[in-house]
Symmetry: C2
Subunit: 321 residues, 2 copies
Amino acid sequence: MTARTRTLSEFSAIPQLEALFRQASSRVELGIGDDAAVLKTKGRWVWTVDSAVEHVHFERRWLSLVDLGYRSFQAAASDVCAMGGAPFAALSSVIFPRGFSDAELRELARGQRAAARSLGCAVVGGNLARGAELSITTTVVGSVQRRPLLRSGARVGDELWLCGELGLAAAGLRLLQQRKSHLASRAAQSALRAFRRPRAQLAAGLQLAPVAHAAIDVSDGLAGDAQHIARASNVEVSIDLDALAAALSPALIALAPTLGVSALDLALYGGEDYALVAAGPRRARPAAARVIGAVSKGRGVWLKAGQSRQRARGGFEHSSR
Amino acid sequence: MTARTRTLSEFSAIPQLEALFRQASSRVELGIGDDAAVLKTKGRWVWTVDSAVEHVHFERRWLSLVDLGYRSFQAAASDVCAMGGAPFAALSSVIFPRGFSDAELRELARGQRAAARSLGCAVVGGNLARGAELSITTTVVGSVQRRPLLRSGARVGDELWLCGELGLAAAGLRLLQQRKSHLASRAAQSALRAFRRPRAQLAAGLQLAPVAHAAIDVSDGLAGDAQHIARASNVEVSIDLDALAAALSPALIALAPTLGVSALDLALYGGEDYALVAAGPRRARPAAARVIGAVSKGRGVWLKAGQSRQRARGGFEHSSR
């Protein structure tokens, strides 16, 4: 296939857009290529946009509209938190199918409001339009105290840090996809809640901001998102599988056999989490961060278990369409 | 029908969302209910989001992808211009159907870039996701020098001003809907261009900002958008049909019979234009503004022709779905 006829993927298109839109401006400190744009007036704020699309990112039988509003908002805000920002305002653009009711919109909005409030953020406007399927596009702006936390900046010798849960939301998604959500175990309930009610890591991002050298939120699985740090920072990132396994929740470990996958695979390739992964110096590690690997000279993401190591596979792609 | 089961409309839902999201914040000067949100850090900037959805706002046979990118960007930026702002940064969120190609995305992005450049605005990021149909959601931020131009603020005794073309883009849309776009007349070409390549009224907005009392962009037809000013300002807006007719382009007047509608109806109810309508004092009228009516004590929007007057009908609703 040639470039002219290649079918679009969410991932392959970014570099060409980055090149196309590259432009200098005294008020734009950082454009395409990281989690959010950085704009400067006097105070510095970061700005992002994210979409949740029916049949691609969610099915309506998987979660209530309140959950959907909550989840889609946290997912968008997560990019601001990953930059060390505090979300303070958001706009919500909803495309809704024929027959969608006022009451349903209200449910969705209630979830958005709950998520916004949990983050100290205001929803200040938006847009409504009809369409074939439900989608929610959320744009969030946040303030940063000093410098934003980028994907680039990881240094040789840094520790690799994890803030938040990995893999549990992906387990919840698989419970729903495999129609096992009726499982009444506490582990299953934890996983469903992790999927339906993820939390952007606001406090962790604020703790990381003054000390970390690089950070990203894990929306597509640890392996893929660590790859973004490795590439942008021009370093090798190694993940210590023993340390990662020790950081996984008991609920995830209990559920994995039921789902027919390993808990480590869900953490590495599962997506849906919105944990933060950061690189920074050992002496400055914040309380919220657990060490799960290291940054060294080289390229790519490697998985280490004892003396053996292997290259990580690529990240997760939303695959229901 | 009860409120609980009422089918959602783009217009009925705003007040309930406004109530739901109302929240105080020192950095949010204005939230839902006007063209764009106003946020303050040190410099003051305005912020908006707008979606263009396939089969609702456009059909792909009507315009090229470059046109679509251009048009959707100008439509979003128009809200910033209507507040007297200068767009300086934008994020673009594109939902694309299966089979959409890299080359097609590039075409779309080229149109966005051309529109952004024409406004001195940078595209600083965005999001890509798959979906059933093509939609482009654009969020634009702009700076305002002093105060933003709101819908409220029109005063009894103000003139009603028009900046830009009215009705010509709606004529272009009807040429396409009626499959008459092959008409080779210069009038038809002007109308098609007005639909495919609208221009947000940046310069007019900047001229209006220091002198007008209220303004709005005409995205849904003059009658409907003037109604927003009348309601928000608690005044009567009267439109002088002779003055309006004199402000219409010769191309529109030439085309209207072919389309089976009156030129005035296209201006009043047609939408798609992105002209600005403002209210302000006669002594301060800017060069770009034409007088098309007046603001007086009362309510609603009235159409005047000589001694007779009648209440205007409501605005335009996107009706292809």
